[in-house]
Every structure is written in structure tokens, then in C-alpha cells.
Symmetry: D3
Subunit: 71 residues, 6 copies
């Protein structure tokens, strides 16, 4: 009876990508742990970059600094 | 001190329905476990059907197939 | 496709009480929102009172003060 | 390796306020528990007041009653 | 910056199985969504069967009935 | 009405440290966002290092390799 919550930043993830993540994680849980797919629920929770903090700053700020460092 | 998170798909749940779920779950926790309502918080998290995976596919796809099977 | 997480303090909740909470919440989601029970998963997460903070202190401390105030 | 989820109602929290919460909580975890910031992720999950239940009613209703009581 | 929570029942999952789930899910998120492993955290939360409700009953009860039906 | 979940590895966090985290985070939410302490609940969820994956491996393995690299 798995329930999986996947939190990622909302940065252009497509429907196809999300469907593939769901397919692969369901398959992993079946193959490795024997969990039947009809008992496996997976929720992808997309979070605005202003609302995701990493290393003490928002991801919005983190992305901006990473872009500047590359420039 | 209960905290309840209820994840459901975002498919037309009305304000009235959500208020009733909050009322009933708060009542269950008070009646069965003795939890006082002013310490009970309940969050309803509505998830797009593209972001909820069930049985290895998105709920969008699952709903589409269910509709076809009925047709 | 609901998934419900119920966090409560670990303070002597019995198997029977937990089973009744599961039964009633599943029933509420079916009756109010039309969610089928075979798609409804509910997890009760019991938390040590040292690990639950309320009003800026642990529940262990909160319980101790409430007991003193009654004495 | 901390992961922190902060659920609050969506009621006009600014980008600056959210950045400050992220900064301070990351600092607390580093200072008190020795957790390095580059392993600390914090997600702020803003919830509509219709979807947050407190004391058996929605926060929308709770806010309305509080305003009436003050009037 | 993904954070993944995987809730499963506590029913004899080995360290090796859990390590493989972590390896595969991290790989899926990197391959499909481009997420770097050093930003990917995965938590496996094992839940007692008395605390996991499915179809209105505890998993303890559900397992017992499934075993009887096979006998 | 904040609810905060703090997931950390179970590696000798003391009751005093956890009480201080609860105190400081409650204070941050009051000072920055105006949230009253009697509506703020914080749960610290301690996770075994075998169950926390980082960079594709368990934290148990990650700690072992870090210790070897220092030796």
C-alpha cells in the first residue's frame, strides 16, 4: 500500500515527464518491494520557486545566482 | 493535537463539501480519541489529475479509460 | 483517490480506536465526496510528545503544566 | 539532512516574508542541530482558507466570525 | 530540488530493498526531469499495519481476511 | 494557522535541542508572519539513516563514506 509524495519545483515539467515518473516509480515499487500497482498512489506536488528554500535562500534567488555565475 | 492532511483530486469539490468533511473529521477525532476541536487542524490538498498517479498512470488517463470502458 | 494522513500524539491510542477512525473517515469521504473505499488510504502517524510542539513548547511540557494547573 | 514543510494559509504572505522564514529556519537548524544549509530544504505550502479547517470549520468562516466579534 | 516521501507498510522490508528503491527513484528523477542527485532527498516512512487504513479497515485486518480467503 | 513538519535523521537529537527548535520556529512564524503561537503546531519526525536517501544512497552509507574519506 504505498503512497508516494514527490515535491519538485514548478519549472516547466510536462505532462509526459510527470506520467513517466509515475510509471517508473510504480514499477520500482512493484519490482523491488512486490507492491501491486492498483494499491500504489503517487502525487507530484509542484512548488513555486519562491516557496522552496535551499541553503537558506529561495530557489528563485538560487537560480538567479547560478545564472550569474555562469555568465 | 491532531493535524490531518487530506489529499484528493481537484475535480469540482465544492466549498460546502469541503466544509462538511472538515466538520465530520473533527467530530470523529473528538468523539473517538477525545481530541478537542480547537487543537484540530485539517488541510484539504487538491491535486490536479495530471499529478496524481494511480496504478502506474495519471488519473487524467485513468478517468479517460474508465469513460471509454463505460461507453 | 484520497490519501489521508492523521498525525496525533502517541498517548495510548488503542487498535480499536484507530480502526474506528479509519472506518469513519473512509465513510465521510465516500458519503460527502463520492470517493470509493478501495481507493482511500489513511495513515495514522503517532508522534512522541517530545516531538510535537504546540504554542512554542513540547507537548510533554504542555501536558505537565496543564496537570499542575489542575492540581 | 533536514526537510521542512511549512503549511500556512494563503493570505498575502510576501516574497520577502517567505525568504526571511526560510533564512531563519535554516539558521535555527544549523545552530541548534548542526545541520549544514546545503542539505536543508524548506517548502512553504500556502493553503486556501476554504481548504484549512480549524475547530471544525473552514478558516474562511473562522475569519468571518472573528471579524464580526470585533465589530 | 526534489523531496520524495515514500510511505509503505512495515512488513519486513530489508535494508537492501530500501537502498535499491532510493537508487532507482533518484535515477528516475535525474533521467526524466534532470534533477541532480545531490539535491534529491528520499525518505521511506514505514507504517505499522494497525495504522494503515485501506478500504475502511486496518491493513492488519485486510491481510488477515486475504489469508483466510486463500485458505 | 501554521503546521510545520521537520524531518531530520535520528542521530542523537536531545529533548533540549528539539524543544529549542520548536521554540525558535514558533517565534519566527510569529515575528515574521504574525502567526499566534496557540495556532502553531510543529512536528519533528526523526528518520532512521537506513530510510533517508541522499544522492542515490542511504544516509547510513553516506555517513560511512564520509568517515572513510576523513580517515
Amino acid at each position: 500500500m504505498p503512497f508516494v509524495s514527490i515535491r519538485i519545483t514548478r519549472e516547466g515539467n510536462t505532462v509526459e515527464q510527470k506520467a513517466q515518473v509515475i510509471r517508473e516509480v510504480t514499477d520500482t515499487l512493484q519490482r523491488v518491494l512486490g507492491k501491486p500497482p492498483h494499491l500504489t498512489h503517487i502525487v507530484i506536488e509542484e512548488v513555486d520557486t519562491d516557496n522552496w528554500g535551499y541553503a537558506g535562500q529561495t530557489t528563485t534567488e538560487f537560480r538567479r545566482q547560478s545564472a550569474e555565475n555562469k555568465a
